[in-house]
Amino acid sequence: MAASAVVRRLSSAPLRDHRLLRPFSSTGSESTITVETSVPFTGHKINPPSRSVETTPVELLSFFRDMSLMRRMEIAADSLYKSKLIRGFCHLYDGQESIAIGLEAAITKKDAIITAYRDHCICLGRGGTLVESFAELMGRRAGCSKGKGGSMHFYKKESGFFGGHGIVGAQVPLGCGLAFAQKYLKEGTVSFALYGDGAANQGQLFEALNISALWDLPAILVCENNHYGMGTAEWRSSKSPAYYKRGDYVPGLKVDGMDVLAVKQASKFAKEYALKNGPIILEMDTYRYHGHSMSDPGSTYRTRDEISGVRQERDPIERIRKLLLSHEIATVSDLKDIEKEVRREVEEAIAQAKENLMPDPSELFTNVYVKGFGVESFGADRKEVKAILP
């Protein structure tokens, strides 16, 4: 039973030998395991899927590895920000990794994802590399947006990731537009528009939902409810924090977002539903360990007990670790090895990104248009700095 059957989904490093799967383990690498989600799904105007989820040891290991990679990346970004290598905004996703991973497990790269500014891990899940992420965060030319976007504007169009948006709520109509195009082109794929509990009250969300329901667009709205919109708790921002019900005539599902298998099950269910019937809302009950952004300590509006409580009871990586151990798919030291390796990978990527140069000054004037018709563009002093837009 080849140990190299371990799926290495997020790393660009070549597949290596892993002594994870014991030759005489009772659990084969291809055999299915059925796991129950932490809690049953709650449906709004829909019969929820079963809470029994099928998975395999390989998949569970990949979940563990990929989530650990995301966790490490975000924590490393924290340090880079504090050492001023990352500037401006930096919104970290640690705690929410199971949403990015569970979603990917249920869909293909032909499906589309769009999200707001907490986008580093979503991009990684869509096939972005660590170097691309760190380089972008540090404003270097090897970044996924060549250093011109920054933390909030990661993109990977060729694998169905449409950004990375800074205006709260705007990504939802955009996501419904992606779904419109998929239906128009008869592609049989769906779009996931991710938004937070803060964005859930945006008017344009309801405008887009109305149109999506009228036109039966394959749009899945995913509310990543981490219970705080910046410093405002959900009970202070929303008269009705039951975001999965907010669609009114659009069905919804409430999901434990910290359970990667629940996320996978719900996403699979939603995709099947949306392709046949139009929009559906998924509310992912999740949590972010960091504050809203690096300028927010995250402890003025919530207690440290709450944060550590969630870490102890609901951490998505710990959940999978327990599963792997209890099903004897891996040992404690196997998992520690993975974590060490992930750490090393992240450190290597950071070193590589640090070496990378900032964009050439001429890049100030590139990509303003696809077709610039040779018009002039100007720098701060147009008598000194001018460019022709090709």
Partner: protein, 377 residues
Amino acid sequence: MLGIVRRKVGCEVFSAMKFSLALRKVLPTGSALPMNYSTATKEITVREALNSALDEEMSADPKVFLMGEEVGEYQGAYKISKGLLEKYGPDRVLDTPITEAGFAGIGVGAAYYGLRPVVEFMTFNFSLQAIDHIINSAAKSNYMSAGQISVPIVFRGPNGAAAGVGAQHSQCFAAWYAHVPGLKVLTPYSAEDARGLLKAAIRDPDPVVFLENELLYGESFPVSAEVLDSSFCLPIGKAKIEREGKHVTITAYSKMVGYALQAAEILSKEGISAEVINLRSIRPLDRATINASVRKTNRLVTVEEGFPQHGVGAEIGMSVVEESFEYLDAPVERIAGADVPMPYAANLERMAVPQVDNIVHAAKRACYRSVPLAATA
């Protein structure tokens, strides 16, 4: 004297013939040059021009679709999309609810994916509800994504003052949108402009704000066979010299081009030969044509319907000061809408929008033919 103007404009070389006033159906907008000879060219309204352009581009590219309020079954609030629903079906001509933020965002998302939406705002006053999508979701995406996400969308609809529609329905947004890098802003005047520029806009890979004018929809203009051909296209970023002149340059866009041409006619009777430039494109602005003209005439009057402060004329005046200062023989004159919200009463409304007289007076001031009077309160 023939009114034939031959200009090489990017990909197209065409000739424009000017006819006498008698041929204008609604408002007299052409110059009164005697008609020496003319081929029997057709006349079409701006409405017909826009409709045929939409029709042809939708026919040529299945990715083009039209979306907006009343564009389908109602045949278009101003009948611009007449017949299109019947021809292309409800999958490509979509009636939306009255939710500009929602449908503009959906349009931009569809453009991200690779479709070519034409999003209609019933008037550009309503585009304010969607302006975040036009600017932050559309204009900036190609740049922020370093070229990964291009947005081949057209936002079109009537812009500026109509007649008696009051303050909330009369604003000109040319300056607002032209302010933003990443957008292209076009302002057709004639039927030829309407056809050529709309086709160019739809074919363009970048987001285009296409500012029409309600009062021009019903106006007829002569068009050559070339203009009527389905491959006809005008270049973006090139102004047109509607009337050549020697003494003063008058720049204008949209409806004001017609007024400027009338003013030029009046001025010619007083010995002032005015060169009228139809800007056609506010962004990119054809600084080369404007400056070349001012270097020839040495005097400039900018005309626009919109509010004066931070307007299109301000940019043109500054451009001329920057590039052709030594050529100016007089200060740049600026004619614009009054600096007040649009009033309803007919007499006040008339004062709030530039009239032909205003343009004539400004041109005379630039030619030192009259002493400027202080405005009365």
